[in-house]
Amino acid sequence: MIRGAIRFLDERTGSAPLLRKALRYAFPDHWSFLFGEIALYSFIVLVGTGVFLTLFFEPSLARTTYDGVYDPLRGLEVSVAYDSALRLSFDVNGGLLMRQTHHWAALVFVASIAVHLMRIFFTGAFRKPRDLNYYIGLTMLVLALLEGFAGYSLLDDLLSGMGLVIAYAATLSIPVIGGDVGFLIWGDQFPGSDDFISRLFIAHVLILPVIIGGLIAVHLALIAVPHHSQFRGGGATEKNVVGTPMWPGYALRSLGLMFATAGILFLLGGLIQVNPIWQWGPYEIYDGTNGAQPDWYMGWLIGALRIMPPIEPSVFGYTPFPNPFFGGLLVPSLVFGFLYAWPSIERRISGDGAVHHLLDRPRDNPWRTAIGAALFTFITLIFLAGAADRIFVSFGIDYGTQVWIFRVAVFVLPAAVYLLTKRICEELRESDWHPLRAPPPATVTRTARGGFELTREARPRRRS
């Protein structure tokens, strides 16, 4: 059977030599290489469950009366979109499992991309020749954020509306052209024309996923062209790749990871409730709720909006920077702008424009690791600031006080983390200490004068 299939393919495509080579493709072994794969497999689950959902969801703001099985909302006048989201949750067999798995997969998708990005950053995997692929990966992260936001904004529940109006305000806050851009997207003043939800729908189910899917293909191709990067040790050099071959080792293992990712997502979707739109209720512009929190990957933007001082300058009667501009547009633009610029910044400052296939350990480049840790601290802080009201409810720390703490901390803590990380990395580099490996043997000698002297035998570094 195998022979027949190979024949069939090779006679038509001549691909046998290529496939044979692909089977020997070496995958360097390291746990941190798996986050990208988890993102890929989450995407597959997203597409699968998403296709199921589109068969039932109706992107329409027309009014209808809910008369499904969920008692507390029966008889309420709601939009067709919200009504169909409730129906596919409660009346369609297996619908809630699909919807919740879809939502969980989105949360894991963005999370695994974010962790993957950190791996790439801290190991210097973005250096030539992989800088091009790093930009593509960053672009996919931006698109994934938009895609996720568009997804949970479609359902026209209270949380959707509260998120969308903030997106509308952020769009309006673009200097000079914000009003025009906002009207182009929404078709009118918020909540916009009835076309808006169809636009959002087509962006969520076609435009963004197709772009992301296309970029995934390019991303994988650009990984395969120079082959994987690898850590030092075990005979790894700049000129070779040492690892598990695609067949039989890696293919089985990676397929296993795919099934495990899907399995965990379906378990989450079946067992742990996420985004209970029936509890939020439908959105009306005159309704709101306290304690609403967005999906996790939007939290940092809420925090940035919240701790921004009430600055809204007026210049000759115009308002160049409406307040949401700072937290909603400037902060994410600076963060992503910095990440996009980083490979060139590092190349310029370090003067190292060479090709690198061997990865750094985070300690090998204390300066870069410290910068990354500082940026991560900043984002974590504004993320926490986005939960300041929940912190108040849980721990009783006054909200106004928290805002001031965060305003100071977002500048002070990253600087402190920068210095601390740099120092730790330098120490680690000196001592070659590793949390999971036995420390290098050390000898304590009593000196003639009564003191002690510690001599560490330098562990033979696993360099090639």
């Binding site: 806050s173 000079v176 009207f183 296993g256 009430p310 809204e312 307040n323 949401p324």
Partner: protein, 280 residues
């Protein structure tokens, strides 16, 4: 491994049964998730058994190839050899491309109207009656001290951003309205846009002092980013990121003692934009 595969079969069959019998989401999730996890375990185990720690060393593909680069450049340049006025032609091609690109992009304008008169607009006019969500006419008696009521312009679309107002009643001695708004209340009832001037969320929290001598004064609060406005002073921002006061709607009473608007909002409703302080 066989045990795991058998487990996968069992769980998958269980999913089919659970689906057919319309069992709960939890059972469905456990069954399908269990089947996937069993297959995952079988695959990972197989990977470990079949190829335990087998490592290969591959040569990395060699690039760049400088010679090929030079030849490619030469071939491209050779194609344009003998063509006169190359610069002008290239300029013309660039112009044609740009113009065509612009022509393709311009239909995007059909997506939305010019914001000109619509942005920040509201249906409230002098004399518009204030009604409840159920279209009942509101009177000052409907608004008690210490709580808020949502009002709408009679006959207008309640889902328009400029429609909903939040009505609160303050004791006369607490009012500190600016002098040009001293008559904007009706029997102590004040009206403000219910849409926050920061990011457009709904003002649906009303903080009212439980013990006035010690508690902070009454305030309208937005739950999204906690912009806080003081109704006593005509909607001035007292906390949070909002850059503008909450627009106030002047109120009056008609002959029958019902609430009506005495004019239009004191400023543009909704989030700020470039021309928010100019009106358009």
């Amino acid at each position: 491994m066989l045990v795991l595969l058998a487990l996968a079969v069992a769980a998958a069959v269980m999913f089919i049964v659970a689906y057919a019998l319309e069992w709960s989401t939890q059972v469905l999730g456990l069954a399908i998730g269990g089947a996937l996890m069993a297959i995952a375990a079988a695959l990972i185990l197989a990977g470990k058994r079949v190829a335990p720690g087998k490592q290969v060393t591959e040569e990395r593909p060699k690039f760049p190839d400088r010679r090929a680069e030079r030849e490619l450049q030469r071939d491209i340049e050779r194609g344009g050899r003998g063509v006169s006025r190359r610069g002008v032609l290239l300029g013309g091609a660039a112009a044609a491309g740009t113009a065509l690109g612009a022509a393709f992009v311009i239909p995007v304008a059909s997506l939305g109207p010019k914001p000109a008169d619509r942005i920040g607009a509201s249906p409230w006019r002098r004399g518009t009656r204030v009604v409840s969500e159920e279209d009942a006419q509101l009177t000052p008696a409907d608004v008690e001290v210490g709580t808020f009521v949502t009002g709408f312009p009679e006959g207008a679309d309640k889902r328009e951003l400029g429609s909903p107002v939040v009505l609160v009643r303050l004791r006369p001695e607490d009012l500190e309205l600016p002098s040009d708004r001293s008559d904007w209340d009706a029997d102590g009832v004040l009206a403000f846009s219910k849409i926050c001037t920061h990011a457009g969320c709904t003002i649906n929290l009303y903080r009212y002092p439980l013990y006035p001598p010690q508690s902070p004064g009454p305030a309208l609060v937005c739950p999204c980013h906690y912009s806080t406005f003081d109704p006593a002073t005509g909607g001035e921002r007292i906390f949070g990121p909002a850059g503008r006061a909450l627009p106030q709607l002047p109120l009056d009473l008609d002959g029958a003692g019902r609430l009506i608007a005495a004019g239009e909002f004191s400023g543009a409703i909704g989030p700020s934009w470039w021309g928010v302080r100019k009106g358009t």
